[in-house]
């Protein structure tokens, strides 16, 4: 088809406009500190998170930015397009190598990213994994993470104590059902372990016996449903679980958005707050607010801002005086801490209340 001059002019205009828009948007979103041709003694660090759309990682970015300003670090931000997008992360790692960064902080989206990380370490870059310990743990120099299994155990123990001997009819709302990621199985299995339920394989969700006994009585697991970690997925997952067994009284959720969606489904089905215990993990400010409102009964709070801050500081210290960060005793990562948040404390399980948690929480609202 012959291009008329009018069409080619429109084409040119559109290209110019899109290119301009793309450049403007990149400038806004990467937040790279200005002055790219700085002297060699500016420490360059790249923070590569899973995705920009999860407030957890946005909080990490804020923490890193603050620490970078304090420590005089030049910070570059990058993120996958969605949870699981390995290609964008690999490109960001390669860019860090070309830029001559001294350190990379990363929440890997999958095993393919680890190959690129090896290249970065070969090039002399210190790589710190955040939030999730990669498999194998020595694929990176060190990990600053929440112990997701422990976070699950806290809410599991709380639930077992709160049930006070009643039969547990459990619905499990996980992150994915078509891929296996450590945060997904660690939280789910940690929860079940905290309840005193036998785990067949602690790296696999959904392989437990569907009936048996927990630490306080008998249990029945109705099923595992995937939520993609968002409200709409949480709602659909809860609806399906309820359709299978309307007497569910315990709901484990992978994170607070999924818990919120599950609550919508329970409310629509006419369940009252007293009938069902909803537990979750994350401890974002929105989630803490939901514990306060009674939407979520207990949640384990983690500290992504701290992870990022400590990560930036560690790189700065490494470059300045050679001190390397060390793992927490008994773990293969540096534990940035987790606390149980609930306004219904039970004996034998330590917790903080929502007022205290609100001071420590991350993210908006």
């Amino acid at each position: 088809m012959k291009l008329t001059t009018r069409t080619s002019r429109t084409l040119m205009a559109t290209f110019a406009a899109s290119a301009g828009l793309a450049i403007a948007l990149t400038g806004c979103s990467t937040g790279a500190t200005p002055g790219g041709d700085t002297a060699d003694d500016t420490i360059g660090v790249s923070l590569i998170v899973k995705t920009n759309s999860n407030p957890f990682f946005v909080a990490m970015q804020e923490g890193a930015k603050a620490a970078a300003e304090e420590d005089g670090v030049s910070l570059t931000l990058a993120a996958g397009k969605e949870d699981g997008d390995e290609d964008t992360q690999i490109q960001a790692i390669e860019a860090a190598i070309s830029k001559g960064d001294k350190g990379i902080l990363i929440t890997p989206n999958g095993p393919a990213v680890l190959d690129a990380i090896e290249k970065a370490r070969d090039a002399g870059i210190y790589v710190i994994a955040l939030d999730t310990v990669p498999d194998p743990a020595d694929a990176v120099d060190i990990t600053f993470a929440t112990d997701n299994y422990l976070a699950g155990e806290y809410i599991g123990e709380w639930t077992a104590a709160k049930l006070d001997g009643a039969d547990a009819v459990i619905g499990l709302i996980d992150l994915f059902d078509d891929k296996s990621v450590s945060v997904d199985y660690n939280r789910d299995q940690g929860f079940l372990a905290g309840m005193g339920i036998d785990l067949a394989d602690e790296q696999v969700n959904g392989d437990e016996e569907s009936t048996g006994s927990y630490s306080g009585g008998t249990y029945e697991i109705v099923g595992n449903e995937a939520s993609q970690g968002a409200e709409d997925g949480g709602r659909t997952a809860m609806e399906n679980l309820l359709a299978k067994n309307p007497d569910i009284n315990v709901v484990y959720t992978i994170n607070e958005p999924a818990a919120y969606g599950a609550y919508q489904a329970l409310e629509a089905a006419g369940k009252s707050d007293d009938d069902v215990l909803i537990v979750s993990i994350d401890g974002g400010c929105a989630g803490v607010g939901q514990v306060e409102e009674g939407i979520i009964d207990a949640t384990s709070q983690q500290y992504p801002v701290k992870m990022a801050e400590l990560g930036v500081q560690a790189i700065a210290e490494l470059v300045n005086d050679g001190t390397k960060p060390e793992t927490t005793d008994g773990l293969d990562f540096f534990n940035t801490g987790v606390a149980l948040v609930t306004d219904q404390p039970v004996d034998g399980v330590e917790s903080i209340d929502t007022a205290e948690a609100a001071d420590l929480c991350w993210g908006g609202e």
Binding site: T10, C28, D177, D178, E225, D232
Partner: protein, 343 residues
């Protein structure tokens, strides 16, 4: 011409070629009523799943499935219109999520009254639809490429606008989540969202079947050059289809906010592909010009039935994905076979 018994070889050959086998007859029926195949699949699926787990048949469960597909079902209306014109829209999910954020944020953060927030969302959706339409008609980009680009643009704009933050219903005026209100009819939970979706299907079915514009949409999809030569302003029709899609997606955004009780930039992860799946399973041809809007509704319901039914049957989540994949291939294969019908 003398009437004599067909004895010549040519006559015998002609008779042989003209005969209609039962298979040909089935193909002919499917060609005229493309919604029959998905209807049959749906009936079989409902019977099978109900037999495996009688919980499936409960009125509450069946109405639940309708509620679960209310968002993707509405998005699929928009997708059907575009596919009927031999196009495809990869940006429907992103457009819808962006619209939902605009509606929610203008109401919650800027304090606008709900009807105004909904209207602004509608305007944003229309503008986004128009962008798609202009890229296809003026810049003459293939719809796949144009919407691939806008899909990324809408995602980025949504994240920038919302800052990655979710808006919850406690901060929104009630009208925004009105679509989740249920009209209790005994055990059946019929939500406003489902009613709106069904009404929209009826409206679009009427427009496609009984108005000149509807006929033009089919004509453009069937053969764009022939349509243009017949005097149809194909550019206007295409542009109007993308803008209409935007309006429908705004309605879908409203239903989405109701179901989630929140407007989240993370929602609707699979909507883009799920809407295409619904359209294809519903018997609409990807090559344009053929298909019934009601087929899409059946397609969306089939996907919902499969997911719900397989879960109730205790089947691993992975098999749901496998089943949907097989359904899509079978549906397109049947469509290919139907197209071979001789008139």
């Amino acid at each position: 011409m003398t009437q004599e018994a067909p004895t010549s070889t040519l006559d015998l050959a002609a008779e042989f070629l003209d005969r209609r086998t039962p298979v040909d007859r089935v193909r002919g029926i499917l060609h005229r009523y493309p919604a029959i195949s998905p209807a049959v699949v749906l009936v079989i699926a409902v019977i099978v799943f109900g037999t495996i787990n009688p919980r499936f048949f409960a009125a509450a469960n069946l109405s639940l499935v309708l509620d679960q597909v209310s968002v993707v079902g509405t998005v699929a209306i928009a997708q059907t219109l575009i596919i009927l014109t031999a196009g495809i829209d990869l940006s429907v999910g992103a457009l819808m999520i962006g619209t939902s954020m605009v509606m929610a944020q203008t109401a919650a953060n800027n304090g606008l009254p709900a009807p105004l927030a909904l209207l602004i969302g509608l305007v944003a959706a229309l503008a986004a639809g128009a962008l798609n339409g202009l890229l296809v008609t003026r810049v003459k980009l293939p719809p796949f490429i144009a919407t691939l680009g806008t899909f990324n643009i809408f995602i980025a704009l949504t994240l920038l606008y919302s800052g990655g933050q979710t808006v919850r219903k406690a901060d929104m005026p009630e009208l925004l989540t009105w679509t989740a209100t249920a009209l209790p009819i005994g055990d059946v939970r019929l939500t406003v969202g489902v009613v709106i979706m069904l009404a929209l299907y009826a409206l679009v079915a009427y427009i496609l079947g009984r108005t000149a514009w509807g006929r033009h949409v089919y004509a453009v999809g069937d053969d764009e050059d022939a349509a243009r030569l017949a005097g149809i302003s194909t550019k206007k029709v295409l542009l109007s289809v993308y803008i209409a899609a935007g309006a429908i997606l705004a309605v879908a955004a409203w239903i989405q906010i109701g179901r989630s009780g929140a407007a989240s930039p993370n929602a609707g992860a699979d909507l883009n592909l799920d809407s295409i799946t619904a359209v294809v399973i519903g018997g609409t041809s990807l090559f344009g010009g053929r298909g019934l809007i009601w087929g899409t509704l059946l397609g969306a319901i089939i996907v919902g039935v499969f997911r719900n039914g397989l879960f109730l049957a205790g089947v691993d989540g992975l098999y749901q994905t496998l089943a949907i994949g097989i359904l899509v291939i079978v549906a397109v294969a049947i469509d290919q076979w139907i197209r071979k019908v001789r008139k």
